[in-house]
Protein backbone atom coordinates (compact mmCIF):
# COMPACT_ATOMS: atom_id res chain seq x y z
CA UNK A 1 0.00 0.00 0.00
CA UNK A 2 2.97 2.20 -0.62
CA UNK A 3 1.21 4.08 -3.38
CA UNK A 4 -1.77 4.93 -1.21
CA UNK A 5 0.59 6.21 1.44
CA UNK A 6 2.42 8.32 -1.10
CA UNK A 7 -0.81 9.72 -2.45
CA UNK A 8 -2.00 10.68 0.99
CA UNK A 9 1.21 12.50 1.81
CA UNK A 10 0.97 14.24 -1.52
CA UNK A 11 -2.52 15.55 -0.92
CA UNK A 12 -1.68 16.46 2.64
CA UNK A 13 1.29 18.52 1.57
CA UNK A 14 -0.57 20.14 -1.32
CA UNK A 15 -2.20 23.03 0.58
CA UNK A 16 1.22 24.12 1.84
CA UNK A 17 2.19 25.28 -1.63
CA UNK A 18 0.87 28.81 -2.18
CA UNK A 19 -0.17 27.83 -5.70
CA UNK A 20 -2.41 25.01 -4.43
CA UNK A 21 -4.02 27.26 -1.86
CA UNK A 22 -4.66 29.97 -4.39
CA UNK A 23 -6.25 27.46 -6.74
CA UNK A 24 -8.60 26.29 -3.99
CA UNK A 25 -9.55 29.87 -3.19
CA UNK A 26 -10.14 30.52 -6.87
CA UNK A 27 -12.31 27.41 -7.12
CA UNK A 28 -14.43 28.37 -4.14
CA UNK A 29 -14.91 31.85 -5.62
CA UNK A 30 -15.79 30.48 -9.04
CA UNK A 31 -18.22 27.63 -8.52
CA UNK A 32 -21.29 29.80 -7.71
CA UNK A 33 -21.05 31.59 -11.05
CA UNK A 34 -20.55 28.28 -12.86
CA UNK A 35 -23.75 27.02 -11.23
CA UNK A 36 -25.63 30.14 -12.33
CA UNK A 37 -24.33 29.66 -15.88
CA UNK A 38 -25.53 26.04 -15.99
CA UNK A 39 -28.86 27.11 -14.49
CA UNK A 40 -29.29 29.79 -17.16
CA UNK A 41 -28.54 27.22 -19.86
CA UNK A 42 -31.23 24.90 -18.52
CA UNK A 43 -33.82 27.74 -18.33
CA UNK A 44 -32.88 28.77 -21.89
CA UNK A 45 -33.34 25.21 -23.16
CA UNK A 46 -36.71 24.81 -21.41
CA UNK A 47 -37.96 28.25 -22.49
CA UNK A 48 -37.26 27.60 -26.18
CA UNK A 49 -38.98 24.21 -25.81
CA UNK A 50 -42.04 25.47 -23.94
CA UNK A 51 -42.68 28.59 -26.04
CA UNK A 52 -41.88 26.68 -29.20
CA UNK A 53 -39.44 29.25 -30.58
CA UNK A 54 -38.14 28.51 -34.07
CA UNK A 55 -34.48 27.50 -34.11
CA UNK A 56 -33.93 30.09 -36.90
CA UNK A 57 -34.51 32.73 -34.26
CA UNK A 58 -33.02 31.24 -31.14
CA UNK A 59 -31.08 28.00 -31.00
CA UNK A 60 -31.31 25.80 -27.96
CA UNK A 61 -28.07 25.17 -26.07
CA UNK A 62 -28.40 21.48 -26.91
CA UNK A 63 -28.71 22.37 -30.59
CA UNK A 64 -25.60 24.48 -30.77
CA UNK A 65 -23.64 22.08 -28.64
CA UNK A 66 -24.64 19.45 -31.19
CA UNK A 67 -23.64 21.83 -34.00
CA UNK A 68 -20.29 22.35 -32.32
CA UNK A 69 -19.61 18.64 -32.18
CA UNK A 70 -20.87 18.09 -35.73
CA UNK A 71 -18.88 20.90 -37.33
CA UNK A 72 -15.93 20.71 -35.00
CA UNK A 73 -13.34 20.71 -37.76
CA UNK A 74 -14.74 23.82 -39.41
CA UNK A 75 -15.02 25.55 -36.04
CA UNK A 76 -11.58 24.58 -34.83
CA UNK A 77 -9.91 25.76 -38.03
CA UNK A 78 -11.74 29.07 -37.76
CA UNK A 79 -10.91 29.35 -34.06
CA UNK A 80 -7.23 28.80 -34.76
CA UNK A 81 -7.19 31.54 -37.40
CA UNK A 82 -8.82 33.97 -34.99
CA UNK A 83 -6.53 32.93 -32.13
CA UNK A 84 -3.49 33.66 -34.25
CA UNK A 85 -4.83 37.08 -35.17
CA UNK A 86 -5.55 37.84 -31.54
CA UNK A 87 -2.17 36.70 -30.23
CA UNK A 88 -0.10 38.46 -32.89
CA UNK A 89 -2.24 41.58 -32.61
CA UNK A 90 -2.01 41.51 -28.83
CA UNK A 91 1.77 41.09 -28.81
CA UNK A 92 2.07 43.94 -31.27
CA UNK A 93 -0.20 46.05 -29.04
CA UNK A 94 2.03 45.32 -26.03
CA UNK A 95 5.14 46.35 -27.97
CA UNK A 96 3.53 49.53 -29.32
CA UNK A 97 1.95 50.37 -25.96
CA UNK A 98 5.12 49.84 -23.94
CA UNK A 99 7.44 51.64 -26.37
CA UNK A 100 5.06 54.59 -26.54
CA UNK A 101 4.74 54.79 -22.74
CA UNK A 102 8.50 54.56 -22.14
CA UNK A 103 9.17 57.22 -24.79
CA UNK A 104 6.50 59.53 -23.38
CA UNK A 105 7.80 59.25 -19.82
CA UNK A 106 11.46 59.42 -20.83
CA UNK A 107 11.20 62.50 -23.06
CA UNK A 108 9.21 65.40 -21.72
CA UNK A 109 8.76 67.02 -25.12
CA UNK A 110 7.14 63.81 -26.39
CA UNK A 111 4.72 63.90 -23.50
CA UNK A 112 3.71 67.40 -24.50
CA UNK A 113 3.65 66.70 -28.24
CA UNK A 114 2.25 63.17 -28.52
CA UNK A 115 0.35 62.30 -25.36
CA UNK A 116 -2.58 64.69 -25.98
CA UNK A 117 -2.92 63.28 -29.50
CA UNK A 118 -2.94 59.71 -28.17
CA UNK A 119 -5.75 60.62 -25.81
CA UNK A 120 -7.59 62.52 -28.55
CA UNK A 121 -7.33 59.45 -30.80
CA UNK A 122 -9.49 57.56 -28.31
CA UNK A 123 -12.48 59.63 -29.46
CA UNK A 124 -12.30 58.00 -32.91
CA UNK A 125 -14.73 55.05 -33.04
CA UNK A 126 -12.08 52.53 -34.03
CA UNK A 127 -14.58 49.88 -35.12
CA UNK A 128 -15.44 52.26 -37.97
CA UNK A 129 -11.82 52.10 -39.15
CA UNK A 130 -12.13 48.41 -40.06
CA UNK A 131 -13.51 48.98 -43.61
CA UNK A 132 -10.75 51.51 -44.30
CA UNK A 133 -8.04 49.08 -43.20
CA UNK A 134 -9.60 46.38 -45.42
CA UNK A 135 -9.59 48.85 -48.30
CA UNK A 136 -5.90 49.58 -47.74
CA UNK A 137 -4.55 46.14 -46.90
CA UNK A 138 -7.01 43.63 -48.34
CA UNK A 139 -8.34 40.47 -46.71
CA UNK A 140 -5.10 39.20 -45.17
CA UNK A 141 -3.65 39.34 -41.68
CA UNK A 142 -2.38 42.94 -41.82
CA UNK A 143 -5.70 44.83 -41.44
CA UNK A 144 -6.69 42.56 -38.52
CA UNK A 145 -3.45 43.21 -36.67
CA UNK A 146 -3.74 46.93 -37.33
CA UNK A 147 -7.29 47.12 -36.00
CA UNK A 148 -6.37 45.11 -32.90
CA UNK A 149 -3.40 47.36 -32.16
CA UNK A 150 -5.46 50.50 -32.64
CA UNK A 151 -8.10 49.19 -30.23
CA UNK A 152 -5.86 47.50 -27.64
CA UNK A 153 -2.70 49.58 -27.24
CA UNK A 154 -4.31 52.41 -25.27
CA UNK A 155 -4.95 50.72 -21.90
CA UNK A 156 -1.40 49.36 -22.03
CA UNK A 157 0.13 52.77 -22.72
CA UNK A 158 -2.00 54.50 -20.12
CA UNK A 159 -1.31 51.96 -17.36
CA UNK A 160 2.36 51.80 -18.19
CA UNK A 161 2.70 55.59 -18.00
CA UNK A 162 1.08 55.60 -14.57
CA UNK A 163 3.36 52.72 -13.49
CA UNK A 164 6.54 54.35 -14.74
CA UNK A 165 5.66 57.50 -12.83
CA UNK A 166 4.71 55.66 -9.63
CA UNK A 167 8.32 55.42 -8.55
CA UNK A 168 9.27 55.83 -4.92
CA UNK A 169 10.63 59.38 -4.59
CA UNK A 170 13.22 58.23 -2.04
CA UNK A 171 14.51 55.71 -4.57
CA UNK A 172 14.84 58.44 -7.17
CA UNK A 173 16.82 60.51 -4.70
CA UNK A 174 19.04 57.52 -3.92
CA UNK A 175 19.76 57.03 -7.60
CA UNK A 176 20.61 60.72 -7.88
CA UNK A 177 22.92 60.45 -4.87
CA UNK A 178 25.19 58.14 -6.86
CA UNK A 179 24.92 60.23 -9.99
CA UNK A 180 23.01 57.65 -12.06
CA UNK A 181 21.70 58.47 -15.51
CA UNK A 182 18.04 58.72 -16.50
CA UNK A 183 18.41 55.58 -18.57
CA UNK A 184 19.70 53.68 -15.54
CA UNK A 185 16.77 54.91 -13.49
CA UNK A 186 14.42 53.81 -16.27
CA UNK A 187 15.78 50.29 -16.68
CA UNK A 188 16.61 49.48 -13.07
CA UNK A 189 13.82 51.19 -11.19
CA UNK A 190 11.00 52.52 -13.30
CA UNK A 191 10.51 49.60 -15.67
CA UNK A 192 10.31 46.85 -13.02
CA UNK A 193 8.17 49.09 -10.81
CA UNK A 194 5.65 49.48 -13.63
CA UNK A 195 5.18 45.72 -14.19
CA UNK A 196 2.01 45.36 -12.07
CA UNK A 197 0.47 48.31 -13.91
CA UNK A 198 1.51 46.83 -17.25
CA UNK A 199 -0.24 43.58 -16.39
CA UNK A 200 -3.42 45.39 -15.40
CA UNK A 201 -3.32 47.07 -18.82
CA UNK A 202 -2.62 43.80 -20.61
CA UNK A 203 -5.66 42.17 -19.01
CA UNK A 204 -7.88 44.86 -20.48
CA UNK A 205 -6.03 44.75 -23.80
CA UNK A 206 -6.44 41.00 -24.31
CA UNK A 207 -10.23 41.25 -24.18
CA UNK A 208 -10.13 44.26 -26.51
CA UNK A 209 -7.93 42.26 -28.89
CA UNK A 210 -10.69 39.62 -29.16
CA UNK A 211 -13.19 42.32 -30.09
CA UNK A 212 -10.74 43.79 -32.60
CA UNK A 213 -10.20 40.45 -34.33
CA UNK A 214 -13.91 39.66 -34.63
CA UNK A 215 -14.80 43.14 -35.89
CA UNK A 216 -12.00 43.01 -38.46
CA UNK A 217 -13.30 39.66 -39.66
CA UNK A 218 -16.83 41.05 -39.93
CA UNK A 219 -15.50 43.80 -42.16
CA UNK A 220 -13.79 41.44 -44.53
CA UNK A 221 -12.18 38.04 -44.18
CA UNK A 222 -12.00 34.59 -45.69
CA UNK A 223 -11.72 32.66 -42.46
CA UNK A 224 -12.00 32.93 -38.69
CA UNK A 225 -14.80 32.79 -36.13
CA UNK A 226 -16.05 36.31 -36.93
CA UNK A 227 -16.26 35.38 -40.57
CA UNK A 228 -18.05 32.14 -39.64
CA UNK A 229 -20.67 34.02 -37.61
CA UNK A 230 -21.43 36.22 -40.60
CA UNK A 231 -21.41 33.34 -43.01
CA UNK A 232 -23.77 31.32 -40.82
CA UNK A 233 -26.14 34.27 -40.52
CA UNK A 234 -26.46 34.51 -44.33
CA UNK A 235 -27.24 30.77 -44.39
CA UNK A 236 -29.78 31.17 -41.55
CA UNK A 237 -27.74 28.50 -39.71
CA UNK A 238 -28.52 29.84 -36.24
CA UNK A 239 -27.07 26.88 -34.30
CA UNK A 240 -23.71 27.35 -36.08
CA UNK A 241 -23.85 31.07 -35.31
CA UNK A 242 -24.33 30.39 -31.64
CA UNK A 243 -21.65 27.73 -31.69
CA UNK A 244 -19.13 30.18 -33.17
CA UNK A 245 -20.22 32.88 -30.75
CA UNK A 246 -19.77 30.56 -27.78
CA UNK A 247 -16.35 29.62 -29.05
CA UNK A 248 -15.29 33.28 -29.37
CA UNK A 249 -16.41 33.93 -25.80
CA UNK A 250 -14.60 30.84 -24.59
CA UNK A 251 -11.48 31.98 -26.44
CA UNK A 252 -11.65 35.37 -24.69
CA UNK A 253 -12.04 33.65 -21.33
CA UNK A 254 -9.09 31.32 -21.92
CA UNK A 255 -6.85 34.18 -23.04
CA UNK A 256 -7.87 36.29 -20.04
CA UNK A 257 -7.00 33.50 -17.64
CA UNK A 258 -3.83 32.88 -19.64
CA UNK A 259 -2.83 36.41 -18.67
CA UNK A 260 -3.53 35.60 -15.02
CA UNK A 261 -1.35 32.53 -15.32
CA UNK A 262 1.50 34.53 -16.85
CA UNK A 263 1.16 37.03 -14.03
CA UNK A 264 1.24 34.23 -11.48
CA UNK A 265 4.41 32.78 -12.99
CA UNK A 266 6.16 36.15 -13.13
CA UNK A 267 5.32 36.73 -9.48
CA UNK A 268 8.07 34.31 -8.49
CA UNK A 269 10.61 36.70 -9.94
CA UNK A 270 8.79 39.96 -9.14
CA UNK A 271 6.78 39.49 -5.93
CA UNK A 272 5.42 43.05 -6.05
CA UNK A 273 3.18 42.15 -9.00
CA UNK A 274 0.70 40.67 -6.56
CA UNK A 275 0.27 43.88 -4.60
CA UNK A 276 -1.24 45.78 -7.51
CA UNK A 277 -3.52 42.96 -8.62
CA UNK A 278 -6.53 44.30 -6.75
CA UNK A 279 -5.94 47.82 -8.06
Amino acid sequence: MATAQQMRTKTESAPKRPGGEEFRAWLSRTWPSVLVLIGAGVVWELAVEIFNVSSFVLAKPSEFIAATVEQRELLLTAAWVTTEEILYGFLLSVVVGVVLAVAIVRFEWLERAVYPLVVLFQVVPKVALAPIFILWFGYGLAPKLLLIVVIAFFPITLNMIVGLKAVDQDLLLLMKSVGSSRNQIMTRIQFPTSLPYLFAGMRIAITLAVIGAVVAEFAGARDGLGYLIQFASTQLDTPLMFAALTLVSLLGLVLYYGMSLLEFLLRRRFPHIKSAESA
Binding site: L174, V178, S180, R188, P271, S275
Partner: protein, 259 residues
Protein backbone atom coordinates in the same frame (compact mmCIF):
# COMPACT_ATOMS: atom_id res chain seq x y z
CA UNK B 1 42.82 59.38 4.21
CA UNK B 2 41.37 62.10 2.11
CA UNK B 3 40.36 65.23 3.91
CA UNK B 4 36.63 65.39 3.23
CA UNK B 5 35.80 68.46 5.23
CA UNK B 6 32.40 69.92 4.35
CA UNK B 7 32.25 73.68 4.35
CA UNK B 8 29.15 75.55 3.33
CA UNK B 9 28.78 79.28 3.04
CA UNK B 10 25.74 81.53 2.67
CA UNK B 11 23.46 78.62 1.86
CA UNK B 12 20.01 79.81 0.88
CA UNK B 13 17.16 77.84 -0.63
CA UNK B 14 13.93 79.05 -2.16
CA UNK B 15 11.20 76.89 -3.66
CA UNK B 16 8.28 77.72 -5.87
CA UNK B 17 7.65 80.00 -8.81
CA UNK B 18 8.73 83.56 -9.13
CA UNK B 19 6.37 85.77 -7.17
CA UNK B 20 5.15 83.07 -4.78
CA UNK B 21 8.54 81.90 -3.63
CA UNK B 22 9.09 80.38 -0.24
CA UNK B 23 12.35 80.82 1.55
CA UNK B 24 13.21 77.49 3.12
CA UNK B 25 16.76 78.25 4.20
CA UNK B 26 18.45 81.61 4.68
CA UNK B 27 22.15 82.35 4.65
CA UNK B 28 23.56 79.36 6.53
CA UNK B 29 27.22 78.73 7.26
CA UNK B 30 28.32 75.29 8.38
CA UNK B 31 31.67 73.62 8.75
CA UNK B 32 31.86 69.88 9.32
CA UNK B 33 35.00 68.09 10.47
CA UNK B 34 35.88 64.87 8.67
CA UNK B 35 34.93 61.85 10.75
CA UNK B 36 32.56 63.71 13.05
CA UNK B 37 28.96 62.88 13.84
CA UNK B 38 26.84 65.96 13.20
CA UNK B 39 23.09 66.22 13.70
CA UNK B 40 20.59 68.72 12.35
CA UNK B 41 17.87 68.86 14.99
CA UNK B 42 14.69 70.79 14.38
CA UNK B 43 10.89 70.81 14.16
CA UNK B 44 9.17 69.69 10.94
CA UNK B 45 9.29 72.31 8.23
CA UNK B 46 12.59 73.87 9.33
CA UNK B 47 14.31 72.68 6.17
CA UNK B 48 16.70 70.29 7.91
CA UNK B 49 16.15 67.61 5.33
CA UNK B 50 16.72 70.10 2.50
CA UNK B 51 19.89 71.31 4.18
CA UNK B 52 21.11 67.71 4.47
CA UNK B 53 20.69 67.13 0.74
CA UNK B 54 22.42 70.43 -0.05
CA UNK B 55 25.36 69.60 2.20
CA UNK B 56 25.66 66.22 0.50
CA UNK B 57 25.64 67.71 -2.98
CA UNK B 58 22.40 65.98 -4.03
CA UNK B 59 20.47 69.24 -4.17
CA UNK B 60 21.83 72.53 -5.50
CA UNK B 61 21.15 75.52 -3.26
CA UNK B 62 19.62 78.73 -4.63
CA UNK B 63 22.46 80.77 -3.19
CA UNK B 64 25.82 79.94 -1.66
CA UNK B 65 28.22 77.09 -2.21
CA UNK B 66 29.12 73.77 -0.59
CA UNK B 67 32.68 72.51 -0.79
CA UNK B 68 33.55 68.93 0.09
CA UNK B 69 37.28 68.33 0.43
CA UNK B 70 37.86 71.68 -1.27
CA UNK B 71 35.83 70.77 -4.37
CA UNK B 72 32.23 71.49 -5.34
CA UNK B 73 29.85 69.07 -3.62
CA UNK B 74 28.59 67.62 -6.91
CA UNK B 75 32.10 66.27 -7.56
CA UNK B 76 31.90 64.25 -4.33
CA UNK B 77 28.63 62.73 -5.57
CA UNK B 78 30.30 61.74 -8.82
CA UNK B 79 33.20 60.17 -6.92
CA UNK B 80 30.61 58.20 -4.88
CA UNK B 81 31.72 59.75 -1.62
CA UNK B 82 28.12 60.30 -0.54
CA UNK B 83 25.95 57.54 0.90
CA UNK B 84 22.30 58.39 1.46
CA UNK B 85 19.94 56.70 3.92
CA UNK B 86 16.44 58.07 3.33
CA UNK B 87 13.59 58.22 5.81
CA UNK B 88 11.91 55.10 4.45
CA UNK B 89 14.04 52.10 3.44
CA UNK B 90 12.94 52.35 -0.23
CA UNK B 91 14.13 48.84 -1.06
CA UNK B 92 13.40 47.22 -4.40
CA UNK B 93 10.67 44.69 -3.54
CA UNK B 94 11.82 42.19 -6.16
CA UNK B 95 15.41 42.01 -4.93
CA UNK B 96 16.87 40.20 -1.93
CA UNK B 97 18.50 42.05 0.97
CA UNK B 98 21.94 41.31 -0.48
CA UNK B 99 20.93 42.47 -3.95
CA UNK B 100 19.43 45.62 -2.47
CA UNK B 101 22.56 46.24 -0.43
CA UNK B 102 24.73 45.96 -3.54
CA UNK B 103 22.47 47.94 -5.87
CA UNK B 104 23.83 51.46 -5.35
CA UNK B 105 27.41 50.22 -5.40
CA UNK B 106 26.81 48.48 -8.72
CA UNK B 107 25.40 51.65 -10.23
CA UNK B 108 28.08 53.87 -8.75
CA UNK B 109 31.01 51.70 -9.81
CA UNK B 110 29.62 49.85 -12.81
CA UNK B 111 30.52 46.56 -11.10
CA UNK B 112 28.66 43.35 -11.78
CA UNK B 113 26.60 41.89 -8.94
CA UNK B 114 29.20 39.17 -8.27
CA UNK B 115 31.95 41.79 -7.89
CA UNK B 116 29.84 43.93 -5.56
CA UNK B 117 28.87 41.01 -3.31
CA UNK B 118 31.89 41.06 -0.92
CA UNK B 119 31.38 44.75 -0.11
CA UNK B 120 27.63 44.25 0.27
CA UNK B 121 28.14 41.26 2.55
CA UNK B 122 30.57 43.20 4.74
CA UNK B 123 28.05 46.03 4.95
CA UNK B 124 25.24 43.64 5.93
CA UNK B 125 27.51 42.18 8.59
CA UNK B 126 28.24 45.65 9.91
CA UNK B 127 24.53 46.35 10.40
CA UNK B 128 24.01 42.92 11.99
CA UNK B 129 22.19 41.26 9.09
CA UNK B 130 24.85 38.79 7.95
CA UNK B 131 22.29 35.96 7.98
CA UNK B 132 19.46 37.74 6.21
CA UNK B 133 21.00 38.32 2.77
CA UNK B 134 18.58 35.99 0.98
CA UNK B 135 15.43 37.54 2.43
CA UNK B 136 13.09 39.64 0.33
CA UNK B 137 12.00 43.06 1.63
CA UNK B 138 8.49 41.89 2.52
CA UNK B 139 10.04 39.27 4.80
CA UNK B 140 11.94 41.92 6.78
CA UNK B 141 10.73 43.90 9.79
CA UNK B 142 10.81 47.69 9.66
CA UNK B 143 14.05 47.82 11.61
CA UNK B 144 15.69 45.15 9.44
CA UNK B 145 14.64 46.91 6.24
CA UNK B 146 16.20 50.13 7.51
CA UNK B 147 19.37 48.21 8.36
CA UNK B 148 19.51 46.99 4.75
CA UNK B 149 19.10 50.61 3.66
CA UNK B 150 22.08 51.59 5.81
CA UNK B 151 24.08 48.65 4.44
CA UNK B 152 23.23 49.78 0.90
CA UNK B 153 24.90 53.13 1.64
CA UNK B 154 27.85 51.55 3.49
CA UNK B 155 28.56 49.09 0.66
CA UNK B 156 29.78 51.99 -1.48
CA UNK B 157 32.25 52.88 1.28
CA UNK B 158 31.50 56.59 1.03
CA UNK B 159 33.38 59.16 3.12
CA UNK B 160 30.12 60.84 4.12
CA UNK B 161 26.87 59.24 5.22
CA UNK B 162 23.69 61.31 4.93
CA UNK B 163 20.91 60.03 7.16
CA UNK B 164 17.52 61.67 6.77
CA UNK B 165 15.43 60.76 9.85
CA UNK B 166 16.25 57.10 9.25
CA UNK B 167 14.65 55.82 12.45
CA UNK B 168 11.60 58.10 12.47
CA UNK B 169 9.18 55.31 11.56
CA UNK B 170 10.50 52.73 14.03
CA UNK B 171 9.15 51.87 17.47
CA UNK B 172 11.03 53.23 20.49
CA UNK B 173 12.75 49.97 21.46
CA UNK B 174 13.98 49.22 17.95
CA UNK B 175 15.04 52.84 17.66
CA UNK B 176 17.26 52.63 20.75
CA UNK B 177 18.90 49.48 19.38
CA UNK B 178 19.46 51.12 16.01
CA UNK B 179 21.03 54.14 17.68
CA UNK B 180 23.49 52.00 19.61
CA UNK B 181 24.30 50.01 16.49
CA UNK B 182 24.81 53.20 14.50
CA UNK B 183 27.21 54.56 17.14
CA UNK B 184 29.21 51.33 16.79
CA UNK B 185 29.24 51.54 12.99
CA UNK B 186 30.39 55.14 13.16
CA UNK B 187 33.20 54.23 15.57
CA UNK B 188 34.25 51.25 13.45
CA UNK B 189 34.25 52.99 10.07
CA UNK B 190 35.34 56.53 10.92
CA UNK B 191 32.90 58.04 8.44
CA UNK B 192 31.50 61.53 8.63
CA UNK B 193 27.83 61.14 9.48
CA UNK B 194 25.28 63.87 8.85
CA UNK B 195 22.12 62.98 10.68
CA UNK B 196 18.68 64.58 10.62
CA UNK B 197 16.14 64.04 13.39
CA UNK B 198 13.48 65.72 15.48
CA UNK B 199 14.23 63.52 18.47
CA UNK B 200 16.26 65.36 21.10
CA UNK B 201 17.54 62.28 22.90
CA UNK B 202 18.57 60.64 19.62
CA UNK B 203 20.49 63.77 18.63
CA UNK B 204 22.31 64.11 21.96
CA UNK B 205 23.05 60.40 22.25
CA UNK B 206 24.66 60.10 18.81
CA UNK B 207 26.34 63.39 18.06
CA UNK B 208 29.56 65.29 18.51
CA UNK B 209 27.80 68.41 17.33
CA UNK B 210 24.09 69.26 17.26
CA UNK B 211 22.88 72.14 15.12
CA UNK B 212 19.51 73.18 16.53
CA UNK B 213 17.38 74.69 13.79
CA UNK B 214 14.47 77.13 13.82
CA UNK B 215 11.65 77.79 11.36
CA UNK B 216 10.56 80.56 8.98
CA UNK B 217 13.01 80.86 7.50
CA UNK B 218 15.05 77.76 8.28
CA UNK B 219 18.18 78.71 10.17
CA UNK B 220 20.58 77.43 12.80
CA UNK B 221 19.56 78.78 16.19
CA UNK B 222 22.44 77.39 18.16
CA UNK B 223 25.21 74.84 17.85
CA UNK B 224 25.81 72.51 20.78
CA UNK B 225 29.07 70.64 21.18
CA UNK B 226 28.18 67.42 23.01
CA UNK B 227 30.95 66.77 25.53
CA UNK B 228 29.87 63.26 26.51
CA UNK B 229 32.51 60.54 26.48
CA UNK B 230 32.84 57.79 23.92
CA UNK B 231 31.97 55.04 23.37
CA UNK B 232 28.43 55.76 24.48
CA UNK B 233 26.02 53.11 25.71
CA UNK B 234 22.57 53.26 27.29
CA UNK B 235 24.17 54.40 30.55
CA UNK B 236 24.67 57.80 28.93
CA UNK B 237 20.93 58.42 29.39
CA UNK B 238 21.49 58.53 33.17
CA UNK B 239 24.36 60.99 32.92
CA UNK B 240 23.33 64.41 34.34
CA UNK B 241 25.26 66.03 31.50
CA UNK B 242 23.00 64.22 29.02
CA UNK B 243 19.93 65.73 30.67
CA UNK B 244 21.53 69.14 30.57
CA UNK B 245 22.14 68.98 26.82
CA UNK B 246 18.65 67.64 26.27
CA UNK B 247 17.11 70.40 28.36
CA UNK B 248 19.08 73.07 26.51
CA UNK B 249 17.98 71.62 23.15
CA UNK B 250 14.36 71.57 24.26
CA UNK B 251 14.62 75.16 25.38
CA UNK B 252 15.95 76.15 21.97
CA UNK B 253 13.23 74.25 20.16
CA UNK B 254 10.43 75.74 22.27
CA UNK B 255 11.72 79.21 23.13
CA UNK B 256 8.42 80.36 24.64
CA UNK B 257 8.11 77.58 27.17
CA UNK B 258 10.18 77.95 30.32
CA UNK B 259 11.79 74.72 31.32
Amino acid sequence: MENMRISAQHIGMRFGRRGSEQTVLESLDIDIEPGSFVTLLGPSGCGKSTLLKILGGILAPTTGEVLIGGQPAAAAVRRRQIGLVPQRPALLPWKSALQNASMLRQIATGERFADAVPAAERALELVGLAEAGDKLPHELSGGMAQRVSIARALAMDPAILLMDEPFGALDAITRDQMNENLAEIWAATGKTILFVTHSISEAVFLSDTVHVMGVKPGRIVETLEIGLGRPRTRQVFDDPLFSEYAARSRELLEPKVTV
